[in-house]
Assembly symmetry: none
DNA sequence: CATGAATGAGAGTTCATTCAT
DNA sequence: TATGAATGAACTCTCATTCAT
């Protein structure tokens, strides 16, 4: 990761940029060492600022965490909206979903959503997040259902299929490494193909 | 969860039982609130004993964590050995693997292995765990490869396929709830079928 | 040091012997690691008994410490009484004192008196010990004074001389090692000679 | 002792002054109650600050201890270097050494070096300290040897003589009290004279 | 605005001591 | 009698947060 401390190099820099720099750094550290093992000091040190300076941009540590979640869920939201407005078969929507969602799982804010410990959230925030995750699941399930109905997807239990697909993609955030053997693009492409194949209606013999 | 505090009802109870009660309780709390947010006091309180009493059974907090991991990995180890000695096609091995492994992912100690934060481990223990996870992946990949060779599995990239399947199953430990709508048995059965179907060689109709 | 755990080998052993074994072991550990860093567990472990067993022989940890001091001071007391009943010049008494006292400083209980931290004592015990040390000093000073009066010791400030001699001998307990290059006997002999020489009236050549 | 808490009267006082105040207070308490019985709280209380504030100036308790040792050994080092560059007979060097060294033994940091429990040091620091003490001993011994060779010191076993002298002076740190009957200056002067006299070559009769 | 200094609360751990058997 | 188990109090150290400048 490139350090974001340059955002603090000058006093005249845009505060929004600084806020963003804090978030980028925090997200990186949260993923590296977990939220609770990341101290405000760790964040400040990486940015070459002092600890209390962080409190100019965020009320407290949890607000930073919540903001990371918010940025991540926004990314996902965009995907879902994009795909919903797609034309195409259910199977095509599933493929588009897997492709985009896998990509999000390789971006820090996206990874935060699925990787950080829910236990560190307040009960309100936790409820929101749970709703969010349910929403994603329902959407994926509806794509599959659509596919079954339009014949692009082989008949199956949509709920279980959605769990399988979502799990496979979510898990990416646990093993993906920016410098690893597989690039984000490759992962997304391959996962989209592989998971879609498993779902697709089997070719019937043409007479 | 059933409380395990009864193990400590009498001073003369079997120490092994008490040790196990500590582990069960700890695993439960670690999954509920994460390792670092679980204090020794939390564990002790659930068991209706005092904090220092825990130190009769474990040298320190990390030893409890390591033991949870050990019990979990032992469960997985058994599966892998069982299946390796199986006869059957590669596809059948994959199915057996998914079935058993999914079951483990619904047991607290098994969930710990894939759900707890690696960052809380000492570097030695971390290296061990990483090796362990790699081993599981290699094994699954070899089953798939076997299947491709014996014709039970449709040709594909075994590495990506293994990532998909392992991810889908690992993710179970993130959403499974003992009191939830799906029982462990159902999950295991359905996942085994669904994930295997996606892999299976498609029956071509020969005219 | 030979372990004293054999005193506990049989249940039928003399309780007084066991008590003594505890004291020997404790004194050894107190000198090795200091009183506060020696836990009751450490003592018990060396003796191959359990911690609470110690409480059959001593009310608490401090009682063990006090007993070590008591045994040590008794050793010194005997010396002082022996020498007081000596005949001989003051210088001879000083020599005898240094010789015997140096020997005591190589015995564990004796070392305890001068080496262990007074700060670990209750104020009562501390007062006693301080009195004791003053008594030793007064006695040595009186030997020197006697020597000055009977002409065996060169005129000097008896108080300062006593501080020098006592300091030199007391310090032995800080560096003496049973397995070291100098034996207790050698140390005692050499210190007695050296310190006495420094004190002795210089032979004037009478014309 | 004068309290050093005034150094913490204002937040903006010189940090170096505060650090020094901590050390002075700590050294005082270590000598009074021993290192292990002195809690960080004790130190903080004397300075009218809270426990965690200490961690602004020192990484941990041991660092405070090590710094006390370092300041003490620095004092001694200076003496040794001064004397080495002296001219004069061996006996004069011994006298200068005793005088200066006795003075150091009445200063808190100097007392720490010879009075605090070595067992509280890490093995590295312990090795350093042991080397240090050996160095002092060797130096004193070489002064005596020099004296024997230049005729200012009566022939004797330099090793034993050094043990006697060093012991006498080291022991000062055990009984010296700032408010006591003997001032540091007096002690140093008298010890220097007394210990030197005992060593000096005896005056031969002048014809 | 920004920051060094300070704090209160709480973590893990140890230990002398006592209870219950 | 003797012991494994348990405890309460203390310790070092950490950290999110807030003053005071």
């Amino acid at each position: 990761m490139l350090s974001h401390y340059k955002a603090f190099a000058s006093r005249r820099r845009d505060p929004a940029t600084k806020r963003e720099a804090v978030l980028q750094t925090a997200a990186h550290l949260f993923l590296e060492k977990s939220y609770s093992r990341t101290s405000m000091n760790d964040v400040a040190e990486r940015l070459n600022i002092t600890k209390p300076a962080l409190y100019h941009y965020f009320r407290n540590k949890e607000e930073i965490l919540l903001e990371c979640y918010r940025l991540g869920t926004t990314l996902i939201e965009e995907i879902l909206n994009d795909i919903a407005s797609h034309c195409g078969t259910g199977l095509e929507k599933v493929e588009a979903f897997v492709y985009s969602y896998a990509n999000v799982m390789t971006v820090n804010f996206g990874r935060c959503v699925m990787r950080l410990d829910e236990g560190d959230l307040s009960s309100d925030a936790l409820a929101d997040l749970r709703n969010y995750k349910r929403k994603i699941d329902r959407r994926l399930r509806s794509f599959i259902q659509e596919g079954i109905e339009d014949g692009s997807v082989a008949p199956c239990d949509a709920k279980i299929a959605a769990f399988c697909i979502a799990g496979a993609v979510n898990w990416i955030c646990q093993w993906y490494e920016p410098e690893g053997a597989l690039s984000a693009e490759e992962i997304a492409t391959q996962f989209a193909r592989t998971l879609t194949q498993g779902l697709a209606r089997r070719p019937r013999k043409e007479s």
